[in-house]
């Protein structure tokens, strides 16, 4: 075999047609079922256990109603019950707070990440605030802002500000100085370097911060609504428990979990679109 022979067979192997296979369809279907089973198998088993646990006698269905009852309560609550209103109120609180945290945290982080001296000066304070539980500060916020919406939104804002702020600062600081130098060699000025190198380089970290902040916002939302609120999904968890409407209580919990999942997936989806270069092709 000559070298040319080796080359041509290599080339064929690289971009040659895939062999047609009649059994391929059945195998694909099987593989799909297998994929679904590994992804959702445990989840489905959990749902089945929940549903039938009471009937099989190892769950106390007086405390933990079957899943189908919870789903029915969720549907009723959202269509004609209190959950519809509660969801709207909760989404507004978390949304406003998260929006404000993002609107302040990202620009501030971008600036601070580029000013090492300012960052060094403020960092100890940031670390202190970050380590101080926002819940511990909630009474202070109530004293300052009253027991109404403002203190609730503010405590959520406060808690979700730090993840996005610190992630943005970190993202900017981690941008490769060699890339900045490269841009300088091509004559880029500060603003261009920021727009074309620093900002895109920090985007993956910013997304990490966004997801952390969103999770924090939802956690804080629930906590704030459990303390001195009379609306909201978090309030409904406590209220339903107090009134022994257990399907409604679990429905509220499930709703909060779904909210968290939906937020996470929405941010992930946005990240996938904006950071195609970063993902595995």
């Amino acid at each position: 075999m000559t070298i040319q022979d080796v080359n041509s067979s290599l080339a064929l192997g690289a971009d040659g047609a895939r062999p047609a296979n009649t059994g391929a369809f059945g195998r694909k279907a099987l593989q799909l079922v297998g994929d679904l089973a590994t992804r959702f198998g445990v989840l489905i088993a959990f749902a089945l256990l929940w549903e039938y646990g009471g009937r099989l006698g190892f769950l106390n269905s007086a405390v933990i109603p079957p899943l189908s009852n919870v789903i029915a309560a969720l549907r009723d609550g959202l269509v004609s019950g209190p959950l519809k209103e509660d969801l709207g109120i909760s989404l507004t609180r978390a949304g406003v707070a998260f929006g404000a945290a993002t609107a302040l945290g990202i620009p501030l982080g971008l600036v601070m990440g580029q000013l090492p001296t300012a960052e060094k000066l403020i960092d100890p304070l940031l670390q202190l605030f970050r380590q101080t539980s926002a819940l511990a500060l909630y009474p202070v916020f109530i004293l300052l802002l009253g027991l109404g919406e403002t203190s609730k939104v503010f405590v959520i804002f406060w808690a979700s500000l730090f993840p996005i702020l610190l992630a943005t600062i970190g993202g900017v600081k981690e941008v490769d100085g060699k890339l900045i130098e490269m841009a300088r060699v091509y004559g880029a000025r500060r603003l261009t370097i920021f727009r074309r190198v620093v900002l895109p380089g920090a985007v993956p970290q910013i997304f990490v911060g966004l997801r952390l902040s969103a999770t924090t916002a939802l956690l804080m939302l629930i906590a704030a609504e459990m303390i001195g609120a009379n609306h909201g999904v978090g309030f409904q968890v406590m209220n339903a428990q107090y009134n022994f409407q257990l399907p409604l209580m679990f429905a509220s919990i499930v709703l909060l979990a779904l909210l968290g999942l939906a937020t996470n997936y929405a941010i992930l989806g946005l990240q996938r679109r904006l950071c195609r270069w970063n993902a595995a092709a």
């Binding site: 890339l179 300088r184 091509y186 880029a188 074309r196 190198v197 895109p200 985007v203 970063n278 092709a281």
Partner: protein, 256 residues
């Protein structure tokens, strides 16, 4: 008038250039009164032991580092900072990972305010020149080291520099890719008629590419040496003259 200016394109004059660093309270003389004239369109290769100041010299020429004393003139004008007539190719490709090959190659032109369409057409020309026509839409993470380095070279060529500064551009490549890239660099240098100043550790690479080789001494009391490479191009690595010159360079490092 215009004829003399054309002759001046990419001419470098280095006068009494000195640079020292302070390292652990100790003064480290890296360059000591270096004098050197680099001709327009010449290929000058700088070799020298690790720490002899090759990168420092190149960074001063690029305008990324300031000399302590002495001056560098390019086409009769003193160097102050980076300049549009110079492009740098670093040891790493330094591609922006979020841009495709094509977008990376247009980077310098974007900054110079070219329209998108013109920049893309120009970039495509250089992408073809470095043999990456099929990879214009690939992202850097999808390229091999050699391919990425070629993208960096294409990006530098788009801005039509008079002087191309290269710091061990092929240092990270395997032996075979390296030889192919040396041939490519030699061809690009001829076609683009650019003054090329290249740092390398590889003596064979130096002799293959250089009109002259500058040997920076490790011991600063010794003066730098300039060695002419008067071999016909394209050069034959196994020719007697080539091998003899390689021996001579090795002797410069006391490795004989």
């Amino acid at each position: 008038m215009s004829a003399t200016q054309a002759a001046l394109r990419g001419e470098v004059s280095i006068r009494r250039l000195s640079k020292a660093f302070t390292l652990n309270d100790r003064r480290l003389d890296v360059l000591r009164g270096l004098n050197l004239d680099i001709r327009s369109g010449e290929c000058l290769v700088i070799v020298g032991a690790s720490g002899s100041g090759k990168t420092t010299l190149l960074r001063i020429l690029a305008g990324l580092e300031q000399a302590d004393a002495g001056e560098v003139d390019i086409d009769g004008r003193p160097v102050a900072g980076v300049g549009a007539e110079r492009a740098v190719i670093f040891q790493e490709p330094r591609l922006l990972p979020w841009l495709t090959v094509l977008e990376n190659v247009t980077f310098g032109l974007d900054i110079r305010g070219w329209s998108k369409a013109r920049a893309r057409a120009e970039a495509r020309h250089y992408i073809e020149l470095v043999g990456l026509g099929d990879f214009a839409d690939a992202y850097p993470r999808q390229l091999s080291g050699g391919m990425a380095q070629r993208v960096g070279i294409a990006r530098a060529l788009t801005v039509k520099p008079e002087i191309l500064l290269l710091d061990e551009p092929l240092g990270a490549l395997d032996a075979m890719t390296k030889i192919a890239m040396q041939q490519e660099l030699s061809r690009i240098w001829r076609e683009e008629k650019v003054t090329m100043i290249l740092v390398t550790h590889d003596l064979e690479e130096a002799i293959y590419l250089a009109d002259r080789v500058l040997v920076l001494p490790k011991i600063k009391s010794q003066p730098p040496r300039l060695i002419d490479v008067n071999l016909p191009r394209p050069r034959e690595r196994s020719s007697a003259d080539f091998v003899a010159l390689r021996e001579e360079l090795l002797a410069e490092f006391g490795l004989h």
